[in-house]
């Protein structure tokens, strides 16, 4: 662990010549006011992306983002300043501005102490050089040409590959220094197909906290291409989607975006501390059928939404949100945990040094149930089977949420029949899970594509679920 700390110190502090003593100076400037919490967040992030389109390597880019954020918290008040210059005078000035939020001073001193140990859930690796550039190009070209071979109706294939190598260092007012190295890779294939003048698209991708070899292992990259083509061809056959309230069966994996939107956001600590969520004050109450147990889990090895420590230096954990239908607790960062008299659950996340941390999800999923997925489909006389989704959104106060199906089929007399066009599904967060009447035994996590937006900040997340049957959800098709 000391090795990790030294590694990150070297990546983040050494280039600007900052020492531990300088961190103490900045922190002591913050602590000359009476604060409940103070931290300095250092970040250095290198990323690249490559795009193949129209059969050529069309674009490549490289970017470096680095800087530090200085925060002081007193009661419910937060002062925050940041700079992309990791320099002592700049950060001291930032600290001076930030502590103005607390008017009455009270001296305190901080000295850096040894860092605690915590488990890591992904390798300390820089993904960018994990393949040589010509190997990355070859990977893109192979995926492009193999995908184009799959069907004569393919008009266009776009393949993208990106990677990030991020080092973060958090200094807290208790003298602790926490460091993390966060690799993240992502690949995507999207295709356009055309038949008799009708054009449709399909898209598939994945990734995680790993290096680029992830895409070569198990032929993942090639399979993204196959899956994108399969989806696009299904959409060529799709008829009008139904409109109205009906039984909906959600497939396993990425449709877990339901949990992220319908209940996840509503269970973030900030909204509940402020009483602005439809779930506020409902711990201990029934919010789902007893078949439902939902967790947020930052500890899954190598997942896109996983973190060894959150952006406040708190180790992540598996947090039970709903257990057998009963609401158990919220996801917390330090500020909201302190104000609600509970412990941080390691969900304090921020997009970068230039953003304030807040409670955010990591990997949110439902535990598997008893039913064979076939049995679930068989039980539906008339309804919709939604297999793939695009994004979603929620109004945490009214509880209304949407998520948009990108691949769906009618269920008629217990059988999946014809494909229908994409449609938005809308429901009410606090009661949608009470209508879950069957839970499959086929839990799947998504392939590693999720990005969640809140208050203008984007962070990578994961979702997952087994096949679910919901007795009544509004489907926004055109066929009345």
């Amino acid at each position: 662990m000391t090795d990790l700390l030294n590694l990150v110190r070297q990546a983040v502090l050494t280039p600007s010549g900052l020492q531990d003593g300088d961190i103490e100076k900045i922190m002591n400037c913050l602590l000359s006011a009476s604060v409940d919490d103070a931290d300095i967040y250092f970040q250095s992030s290198h990323s690249e992306s490559w795009v193949m389109e129209g059969g050529i390597i069309k674009e490549g880019s490289h970017s470096i983002e680095q800087g530090a954020g200085v925060r002081a918290v007193s009661g419910e008040k937060t002062g925050f300043a940041y700079s992309d210059r990791i320099e002592l005078p700049v950060l001291l000035e930032a600290a001076g501005n930030v502590k103005a939020i607390v008017r009455h001073g009270q001296q305190a001193q901080m000295g850096i102490i040894k860092t605690a140990k915590w488990p890591r859930y992904y390798p300390i690796v820089n993904p960018l050089p994990s393949l040589a550039t010509n190997q990355k190009i070859d990977l893109l070209k192979t995926v492009d040409s193999e995908t184009r071979k799959l069907d004569p109706r393919i008009e266009e294939v776009i393949v993208s590959l990106s990677g990030t190598y991020e080092n973060i260092l958090v200094a807290n007012q208790d003298g602790s220094l926490s460091a993390d190295v966060r690799p993240l890779v992502r690949m995507n294939v999207s295709v356009i197909v055309e038949e008799n003048g009708r054009r449709e698209q399909g898209s598939m991708g994945g990734g995680g906290r790993s290096d680029y070899n992830y895409f070569i292992e198990q032929d993942r990259a090639l399979n993204y291409g196959k899956e994108a083509v399969r989806q696009a061809l299904v959409n060529l056959e799709a008829g009008e989607a139904p409109a109205g309230n009906m039984t909906v069966v959600l497939g396993p994996g990425w449709p877990g975006i339901l949990l992220h939107e319908a209940i996840g956001h509503g269970l973030e600590g900030d909204f509940n501390r402020k009483g602005t969520s439809a779930f506020s004050g409902r711990v201990g109450e029934r919010v789902a059928s007893d078949l439902c147990t939902v967790v947020d889990d930052g500890t899954l090895p190598g997942r896109r939404g996983s973190l060894s420590i959150d952006d406040e230096g708190t180790p992540t954990e598996q947090t039970i949100l709903i257990e057998n239908g009963i609401l158990k607790g919220y996801m917390q960062d330090k500020l909201n945990a302190r104000l609600m008299g509970v412990k941080s659950t390691g969900n304090g996340r921020r997009e970068s040094y230039a953003h304030l941390p807040m409670p955010r999800m990591t990997n949110t999923y439902m535990l598997p149930g008893q039913h064979d997925p076939q049995e679930i489909i068989k039980s539906v006389k008339k309804g919709l089977f939604a297999k793939n989704f695009a994004g979603g959104q929620v109004d945490i106060t009214s509880g209304k949420f949407v998520f948009s199906a990108s691949e769906a089929y009618l269920i008629e007399d217990g059988k999946i029949t014809s494909p229908v066009k994409g449609a938005t599904l809308i429901g009410n967060g606090p009661d949608v899970l009470t209508k879950v009447s069957m839970v499959g035994n086929d839990l799947q996590l998504d392939s590693g594509v999720g990005t969640c937006g809140k208050d203008g900040q984007s962070v990578p997340v994961g979702v997952g679920q087994p096949t679910l049957k919901i007795d009544g959800l509004t489907v926004g098709g055109t066929s009345v």
Partner: protein, 443 residues
């Protein structure tokens, strides 16, 4: 002027970048640089919640080796970093493919006239002043009505920044701009029904901001009117998009005529140039040179001169929205839209909002849309919505947990009227828009 000095300094840095690119063997290059700083304050339940000082900078460079291209960016503006960034871009260009459409814009399209668009209006607001303004705004909302039960707070934002860009054709320009805003979001409760809504004002010049009290009052009013919303039965009916939601409809239209979607054949308006896309009474145009407007610019993201122009005249599509690359792919010329449109305006009709409600007669007024739900490739449209049920031109009750669906191609053609209740707070200027018939899904 202090600004001019800073602009000149940043111009020198951009020139250094371009020189460095040439030194490293690039045959052409383009570089941009920005520096922004600002203050954000939020007040909740009468107490300061956050005080944030923003300070951002970044530079980006694109190099060409013949028809091969590479890009790189960084937040570090030191000379050493400039060298590294250029060399990162150059090493990428060694691996990208020859692309006969890539390259800098045609010299004759670059902007040569730079009138003052009056985009820079610094606001002497400090933390204390911002706090008292936000407090005044939130107080107005909270004291508006006893059913206003909680608050997400009010916030004041003030930002100023400088943007400089240049290319190896000799283009080197910069300007300063400001952006200030004031917003408020509150909750209301009646029985089991809890709702939240907001209102905001944004402007280049703080003097043009709506008053704090008016913003607070509107936030409260908008929240209260949503209480006890209900779903609708599944049906077909006409839909009136309020001005704020109507801009999304026009945004989707712009997406469909944007070069990137056209040359990728992922637009529902392929080959629509010269054809009837909207009804005859519709005119849509760009006004890039409006003084002090949020979407004004003398040149686009590549230095190409922007021009006032019609995109739709008499309902007929007059031109696409193109940057240099997509224009070449389509065998056309850049329209000065690298980075998007500039103050896109749909000519308002004669009816005000009440008149539009009467024109709707019986149907759905949409005030909020949720989710993405727009398929650019085929125009399929299905989104979550909230709003009001209207009968005989009168608002009856709030509506929520419904979806509206149709196909954008038909929706644009079936626009019945455009209101004169224009929302000037964004880059798309439109009044409310009435669309003939959409599918509503509900309980």
């Amino acid at each position: 002027m202090q600004n001019q000095e800073q602009i000149n300094q940043l111009k020198n840095t951009v020139q250094d970048l371009l020189d460095e690119a040439k030194k490293q063997g690039a045959t052409a290059a383009e570089a941009g640089l920005s520096q922004d700083n600002g203050l954000s304050v939020s007040v909740r339940l009468g107490e300061v919640e956050t005080l944030e000082y923003h300070c951002d900078q970044g530079l980006g460079v694109t190099v060409y080796f013949g028809q091969r291209k590479g890009s790189a960016s960084t937040t570090d503006l030191s000379p050493a970093s400039i060298k590294e960034t250029v060399s990162a871009a150059c090493s990428i260009a060694r691996f990208t493919s020859e692309d006969s459409f890539s390259g800098l814009p045609e010299q004759q399209l670059l902007a040569t006239e730079f009138h003052d668009l009056e985009l820079y209006h610094p606001w002497d607001v400090n933390a204390d002043k911002a706090i008292s303004l936000a407090t005044e705004c939130e107080d107005a909302a909270r004291s508006f009505h006893p059913e206003i039960s909680n608050s997400e707070g009010a916030s004041v934002n003030s930002h100023q920044g400088i943007r400089v860009m240049g290319n190896s054709l000799g283009f080197l320009q910069g300007y300063a701009a400001t952006r200030h805003s004031l917003s408020c979001s509150v909750l209301a409760q009646r029985g089991d029904s809890m709702q939240r809504d907001y209102w905001y004002s944004v402007a280049r010049n703080a003097l043009h901001l709506e008053s704090a009290v008016s913003i607070g009052n509107k936030a409260a009013e908008r929240t209260l009117r949503r209480l006890e919303g209900r779903s609708l039965s599944t049906r077909q009916c006409p839909v009136l998009y309020c001005a704020e939601t109507a801009s999304g409809l026009l945004g989707s239209f712009i997406g469909a005529i944007s070069g990137g979607n056209l040359y990728r054949k992922s637009s529902f308006l392929l080959d629509a140039l010269g054809s009837q896309v909207f009804p005859e009474f519709v005119r849509i145009h760009e006004q890039p040179h409006l003084k002090a407007a949020l979407g004004s610019a003398a040149y686009d993201g590549e230095g190409v001169a922007t021009k006032p122009r019609d995109i739709i005249t008499g309902g007929i599509l007059q031109g696409y929205v193109l940057g240099t690359y997509s224009a070449r792919k389509l065998g056309m010329q850049s329209t000065g839209n690298a980075g998007g449109v500039h103050n896109l305006t749909i000519d308002p009709g004669t009816l005000d909002f009440d008149g539009m409600l009467k024109a709707l007669n019986t149907g759905l007024l949409v005030t909020e849309l949720m989710g993405q739900g727009v398929n650019m490739v085929n125009g399929d449209y299905s989104r979550g919505a909230a709003g009001f049920w209207v009968e005989n031109g009168q608002i009856q009750y709030p509506v929520e947990e419904i979806t509206i669906a149709g196909n954008l191609k038909d929706m644009l053609k079936n626009i019945v009227a455009v209101g004169n209740d224009v929302d000037y707070r964004g880059n798309i200027r439109t009044g409310s828009i009435l669309v003939e018939q959409l599918s509503i899904a509900g309980e």
